[in-house]
Symmetry: C2
Subunit: 188 residues, 2 copies
DNA sequence: AAACAAAACTAACGATTGTTAGTTAGATAT
DNA sequence: ATATCTAACTAACAATCGTTAGTTTTGTTT
């Protein structure tokens, strides 16, 4: 199977897309980073779009699986939110290259892949929103507009990859503890 | 002066950049949206880069001014943070198109403009970080890692433009109140 | 009415883009 | 040894890109 070589291409492309964005990276750029010529890439992938789609779906599916698992747990809304934060941090650390592309370049997906990723994103947000609403109705969470809570937490988690590198030596478990504390209990 | 026509171009480009990103928008796209031919744009601007640079610097300077003003105030760190949040919301609402480009396409700036924007961004973060550190040392803020607090608040503010449209009829002042509450006091 | 400047136009340039066709080198299987 | 298959190569394509040169239209000033 060419699957290992294909994965190599995707990983290298992932790094370049993160640095410069999908449209600013040419097939010749990817090929050069792979030490081959652009035309040779087509022995392993069908085109630039396939690289983008595979790349993004790999990590999007990771998020979807984990969220579905959390949503169907039998625990309190607050415990679920804590889990969501931790899972997000884990995925960000493990797929640190892919995440930038998921966040910035999903717009450049076409056709079915675009539809699929948008749907997954919506479902993810719906799940999260429902957990928050549940928490409010159980009086575990302040009766604030759910949308404000949802996007406060979600934007922080989604852009975590941007400063994850700067976090330097901060241990992942410390990071989890701190972020859970800040996002749930505030800063005062 | 051609300054009004130039501003028209920048505003239209701003809308297109927001929707598709800098690299996916051609000069011919901008021209078409302006009801003219691409070559005619060059009567008003020197090139695509100038559009991007002017666009981004317009709003970046807004942030810098406001932050400098807040930093030099004589008020408690917590009051300053509240002000920063409110200012961010105001600018996001007033420059809703520009903000997307500032956030996503600043990487595509070149030369002096790039250097300048990066510097402004760093200064802005430094100011914010110092306010937080001050708050911690005055025991107004929990002794958490300042970086976690800084980026939790900042990522939420920076991506506000993404869901600002969905916020629908929510009044700006209500939004300010809710966000200050969530970001400072948490959700429980 | 003549002169002028501003802002639009047409046409074209060199460079780069994603992709295809056809070919060749190297490894594996018969 | 021969045939087969994989994965690399060279060369080229049509399309699109940002930009320039030269020209014409439009509107204002004298």
């Amino acid at each position: 199977m060419n699957s290992t070589r294909k994965q190599e291409i995707i990983n290298i492309a992932s790094r370049l897309f993160k640095e410069r964005g999908y449209n600013a990276v040419s097939m010749r750029d990817i090929a050069q980073a792979m030490d081959m010529k652009a035309a040779s890439l087509y022995n392993h992938i069908s085109g630039k779009q396939e690289i983008l789609a595979t790349l993004i779906l790999e990590v999007a599916e990771e998020f979807t699986e984990k969220m579905n698992s959390i949503a169907s747990e039998t625990s309190t809304p607050l415990q679920k939110i804590k889990k969501v934060i931790e899972v997000h941090i884990d995925i960000t650390v493990n797929f640190s290259e892919h995440i930038a592309t998921l966040n910035n370049d999903w717009i450049h997906l076409e056709g079915v892949s675009l539809k699929r990723v948008v749907k997954m994103r919506e479902d993810y947000e719906d799940n999260f929103r429902n957990i928050i609403k549940q928490g409010i109705s159980e009086k575990q969470i302040k009766p604030q507009h759910p949308e404000v809570i949802l996007f406060s937490i979600l934007s922080t988690l989604r852009t975590l990859y941007l400063w994850n590198e700067k976090r330097g030596k901060m241990d992942v478990n410390v990071l989890k503890k701190d972020m859970v504390s800040v996002l749930i209990n505030g800063i005062v």
